[in-house]
Symmetry: C2
Subunit: 201 residues, 2 copies
């Protein structure tokens, strides 16, 4: 049994935003920590020919937009669908990977605050300037964060993370792995908790 | 506020099987009854270009087959993926519509027992002979049930139900509607219960 659980996500995913707010506390309740795994859903979706939920036929995308709101409300979280949506989040992900090096114990806080900002009000979470200011406000080195956006080290780490995601069968977000058992979706949190509590079911 | 909630489903849907086992008790807890709405997902899927979960790319279909099992286990229900799967269920649906006329108070029991039979062991739930025997075992008129499979009245009712499903935006199963609010999926039952308990949230 590993002490960590994997949390694969894209900063642009509404359901990953919702689950991200509680996953670390849930893991801690059962003596686990979270290994945050930012990826780009665009890269992941290519493997299965999947489309973002809001780009599906109107009857579906309308339902999902409504369900994003309702699922956030159910979790007592704010939700405003960003415009434009979806966006690329490669810089956001790279700064997250940078933070895993310089302040690993702050990554959960970073993921929660960035996604919450993105789904609460207009926030250019993929802009280096926005990321720099956000990281600075966390009391960390904003200039170094901005630099991470163009750093080949983090570009390469993100590319490898996307490849690893595809290789291990990740096809959506959030994607939670507990001791090899994969759960897809915010709506699987009750099963995730039962799995953590009982070591499977 | 209506005294009923709509439960749109196909007898072939694993997640609709799981939710069907508890939806009537859940509704009753909040003073509601269930309006069972059998449809054919094949007809519904055409509207959005959707594919059965088990016919998607292997990485997805493998996940779903595993999740069917796990979600059933989580609900303390048996689950064996039928072979072949999926199948057409037009006769099963027509007998369900017939039962709504002759024994409306038994429809929930019919849905629960037929889906449970289908997902527990080999059971030809779309065969008139199987349906006849199953209905007979319920103490109802098995021969009349078999006749309903070819009765233009129930053929037409099912066709209209599929058209109505598409017209009101149903694109998957189970699809639960409470006072106009639509919830898709067995995994939305916690939200369904909160909605029933509070008249929305």
């Amino acid at each position: 049994m590993s002490a960590t659980i994997e949390y694969w996500f894209d900063f642009v995913s509404p359901y990953a935003y919702i689950a991200a707010q509680s996953i670390e506390a849930l893991a801690a309740k059962y003596g686990r920590s979270v290994e945050w795994k930012p990826v780009l859903l665009g890269a992941v979706f290519k493997n299965t020919g999947s489309m973002p939920l809001t780009m599906r036929p109107p009857v579906m995308s309308d339902y999902f937009k409504h369900d994003f709101q309702r699922s956030a409300r159910f979790a007592k979280l704010p939700f405003v669908l960003p415009d434009p949506f979806p966006i690329n989040t490669q810089n956001t992900a790279r700064v997250c990977l940078w933070m895993q090096q310089v302040a690993p114990q702050r990554v959960g806080e970073f993921v929660r605050s960035v996604t919450r900002a993105y789904f609460s009000a207009p926030a250019a979470i993929n802009d280096a300037a926005w990321l720099s200011a956000h990281v600075q406000a966390m009391g960390l080195d904003g200039a170094a964060a901005a630099a991470a956006c163009d750093d080949p080290i983090f570009k390469d780490q993100l590319k490898q993370a996307c490849e690893q995601a595809v290789a291990q069968g990740v096809f959506g977000a959030p994607w939670i792995v507990i001791d090899g058992e994969a759960f897809w979706g915010n709506d699987r949190l009750p099963q995730v908790e039962a799995w953590l509590a009982n070591g499977g079911f």
